[in-house]
Subunit: 359 residues, 4 copies
């Protein structure tokens, strides 16, 4: 079985494993107070061009989203997010479990706009009895989004300025951040991002690490006591150095972006080969997730050798599915996939069945 | 600096690292649904002699305690625990953050008794308006306790029977479970434990693993939908196989108990050498944590070369401190510690100062 | 100023005040354990033809919704409701504050259907990893709805049967229940309702009482320990008898339905007089809330003498607004309102302005 | 049955009922935005000599405690309180249900000291890893306490100054506030209290009102958005005017203190008559709660005609019980109680039995 259903099918980049072995018997203090975490924090601050940033390491994405959001909101506040935002649909109500509503706004492609943020803010302010409704307290976006799309620098700037005017901290979920930054279509750097939001995180789990997310807090008001929040929400790893060592490795010599670029190359290879077959896509994604629309009969056959994620029915005979690449994707697997899809699209014995599906 | 302040100062047992390397580029599904987790679950069920047990892997202890407790209690219920219980003092209110009170009962040595559980239960039942008070909903104990002490099989059986009569599920925090089971003073096996509680966990973080705790649910009523709880509380590791691989390694060929035994040997070596010096202990601990009472002036000197944990002032010139050993503790470090303490106890130049402290 | 903006502008029905005076210096026990509460419970059980029902008295609607919902759901479950449901929009996130997501389904008129419930249930069940999403745990509807519409007996039966098949308790918010039951269009009785849901409440605050909502629990599984929930959520009134006395008065001699009917008569008087003016309505409401669509210029003038609630912009020059009647509405006020609207619709001096608005 | 088990056995003071009748058909806006609430707020500000105070009306005590505390604390903070504090024992974990731990300190008489507050604060600050423990975030006291005792002005001043130095807002639960202020032993006024804490409330439920507590917020930092908290926690009464009307009545012409004084007179009458019989007391209470220690055989007999609250066993044959007086207590009932206790203490036929009990 060749796996494309997500971007965490393998272990860690070999340089990370190597460093874990080298440092294994070092004795360090726990909970992220060790020299490896210190150095990783320093490297990340440097990469963000933000010497004043606070950097914290957590284990996973849902945990990170919950911890950051719960640390920012007052009890009666909610977080603005796209209806497709990870926190709105795929975290088993983790945000609500900390007492907060996710205030969703519609989105075609996973992105939200400054105008939408302003509209939610204005609508609340203009209520005759605003205290009967949840008060918008912050904004959550993902870069890249759950649909593979990206915010441009201008879009992000606009979102940040509007959010600031409305008094709403802007939080960027970067579980796949490298896969945005490494995309040829991306017009922003890590330093740009760090200037254009209040807090974000750099995903390690999906990009080379065994696990780990690095939270970068830019806004001074959000810094105090964040470690209490991490501990309470179960995210303060006893052997915190494991996260430090991994991010240290990812952020020296540019490894993080380098391996992200590989994932993009592989994704584009899938994209281009499918486009050649005149296959359409649900979203135009320049990142590591590709959402082709394929005949259901073809998908049925493909399933015997490949894993991928069903996304949605598009019409009676077609569905959009998701293929993810990652730092670990092997080119031969990508090429096999492209070949098999091409073959299945043209296999003579299937002509009639496919013809019907392609109507 | 030689570290004894906790039992997670190093990385992982080398066989675990070896297995991570061997399996690194295997492609597996996420979130604990992979073959390594399956095999680890099977090995643990076997070791527990509980074929019907549900086994889940979480990342850390606070997370595990929170998730298990929140999954059991109704909103108006609390959990009975010793005042010294980890959930009562060292989890930043993680239990309260899920809405539940920790109902503490006093304890000299970290253990609680069946009689105490019954007393809390009866006191609540005999209230004239019980609904004005938190209803006891379950019992939490640690084996070994935070003070290094252990429940005997008879004590556990009594606690379990009483809890059952009171309708209170019994949950055993086994963050250091191996260090109890491997103690020569321990009269119970893993299978005994599995018969004598409703749910417990096997700590990996402190015993050989990079991180990871294996929750074993024995009581059928507590099994449904537990994965929802893990996900919501941020504990469902994307690359769940990392936990599976580690517990697979720990539970084939008896590695878990073998390396636990080493920690006990090292702890006893500390214990015996200090006892030889007529040094007393705050708790009589047969496990990997030792709590000697030492002169403050001696401790001051010791700090330049060793880390350990201050526990409490005992009198004007003495304090109890904690030394932890682990699977990774090197004998030469233990011997150096013993030697240095002996030397400091007798150093001529210090005679007067120490004499005062020893009054 | 004549008030139509809500249905709680006045105090209580005079018979209630009379009873409060008569019983004022009686000494009773607190928290709803007094003889008045007992008698009120008995009268309500009788009116519901449900001798086995548990009846509890709470103070307000948001409190009641929160308490009932939090008592039913497991931590990872959410409550299905219309997007316009009171719990989804007008309770400041009270449901989320207890840890639960409101799973909204779209609704034109405030009602949801059995098919929608089944669809949410099936969608969740068919997820490949359902534990990453909130599990539907119950269904919330309002009778009448926030838009003045009502469920027919057949619709309710269908909802109840489907909910039961899906294992989802059905909870009916009856903050305005009398205003449904007293409507000539209503084809169900209180006893019907009690057969067709798991738990509901009878609103007193909006129908004759100073305050108070009577929760009626039909499903045995939802009965245990409900008083703990009331107390924890701050709803256990010390002088509980105040609620007992009020419901006692409302449920002897049919006062509750009698005064509800008056509100409907007044609402219909508004409805019919506006319809005569060829004024349209946003929702076809047979209950005490009426939602006419009126020219903004007319509304502007009306505001100097009447209060009412802005509902939504309908087009560039018109808005839908809400007029509420209640048990206390005086006919002369209704007639004045009708007269003034008719006058404003036809006032010669306004012709041009209104003509534009009416385009 | 003559009732002394609590201070809310009757309805409301007759002047309050009178005002409810007079204002019953007035039309007002809801949720505390009406002229009666405005006037009540103004009268309370005046009585507190605090023109800048924010005043809010809630329905009950548990609700008020929960709402105030949840509005002040950050998620990882707890509230310092006496072990006997109402929030610690008699609110079914309402505070924990909002995510916060109650950090209890021991107390003989229900009061806590500035030194205790400082000790908790210092202990937390001096932790080597403070983020593993709940951070003290505020201080809760009751005036008078649950044991009938009172803070002196000097004690309160000391608590306030210490709390301020530690950055901990001081919250005073005044459910029985009048019964402190009206005590001859009390050396503070309402205005003193308002100078010596950050937020407090004036209990109406136990002093003359049907229900209602008036929260007075002095500290500007605690004022914003408090109405959101009230609404979310279910405390925003739809017919808010009911609370306004009651506090208006209580705070014009000094009614609140006047009727409080009556309760104290009645309590002292009980106290003095029992003291004459050489009966001891568990606490020396100068307020409306009296805690005599009586022979169990006497209490058994007393129960056939009087209600009171069992407090605790004092020895094998005696118990402390609580008698409450209130604004509504009738002197003839007090005198009957005193007479009956005196008679039972001396009844010849009981001599032997009592003699044994009195050993």
């Amino acid at each position: 079985m060749i796996r494309f259903e997500c971007d965490y099918n393998e272990g860690a980049h070999e340089r990370i494993l190597q460093r874990l072995i080298e440092t294994n018997m070092e004795q360090t203090s726990g909970y992220g107070t060790d020299p490896h975490c210190d150095r990783a924090r320093s490297l990340i601050r440097q990469a963000c061009d933000s010497e004043q940033a606070d950097v914290h390491f957590l284990v996973g994405g849902t945990q990170t989203n919950t911890t950051v959001i719960a640390s920012i909101l007052r009890p009666y506040q909610g977080v603005i997010a796209a209806t497709s935002g990870h926190i709105a649909v795929h975290e088993t109500g983790a945000i609500e479990a900390t007492g907060h509503k996710v205030l969703t706004v519609p989105s075609e492609d996973g992105k939200i706009t400054a105008d939408q943020v302003r509209a939610v803010y204005e609508a609340h302010r203009s209520e005759s009895s605003p205290e009967h409704c949840v008060q918008p307290g912050m904004v959550y976006i993902s870069q890249p989004t759950e649909n593979g799309t990206m915010y441009s620098k201008a879009e992000l700037q606009s979102l940040f300025e509007t959010s600031k005017k409305c008094g709403l901290p802007l939080f960027v979920d970067g579980a796949r951040l490298g896969y945005a930054l490494a995309s040829p279509d991306c017009d922003m750097t890590l330093a740009d991002l760090a200037r254009l939001c209040d807090v974000f995180y750099i995903g390690g789990t999906k990009i080379g690490a065994l696990m780990g997310e690095a939270v970068v807090i830019l806004n001074d008001a959000l810094k105090p006591d964040f470690r209490y929040m991490i501990k309470q929400k179960g995210g303060l790893l006893a052997k915190g150095r494991l996260l430090g060592i991994q991010f240290e490795t990812l952020f020296e010599d540019g490894l993080y972006l380098e391996i992200s670029r590989h994932a993009i190359d592989m994704a584009m290879r899938i994209h281009d080969s499918l486009e050649e077959q005149h296959i359409g896509f649900l979203y135009e994604s320049p990142t590591n997730q590709q959402f082709p629309i394929l005949p259901d009969v073809l998908l049925e056959k493909l399933r015997s050798q490949y894993t991928f994620t069903f996304w949605e029915k598009v019409d009676a005979t077609h569905s959009a599915v998701r293929f993810c690449t990652s730092w670990a994707t092997e080119q031969e697997n990508v090429d096999a996939l492209a070949r098999d899809i091409a073959r299945l699209m043209h296999e003579p014995s299937e002509t009639r069945e496919l013809a019907e599906a392609l109507v």
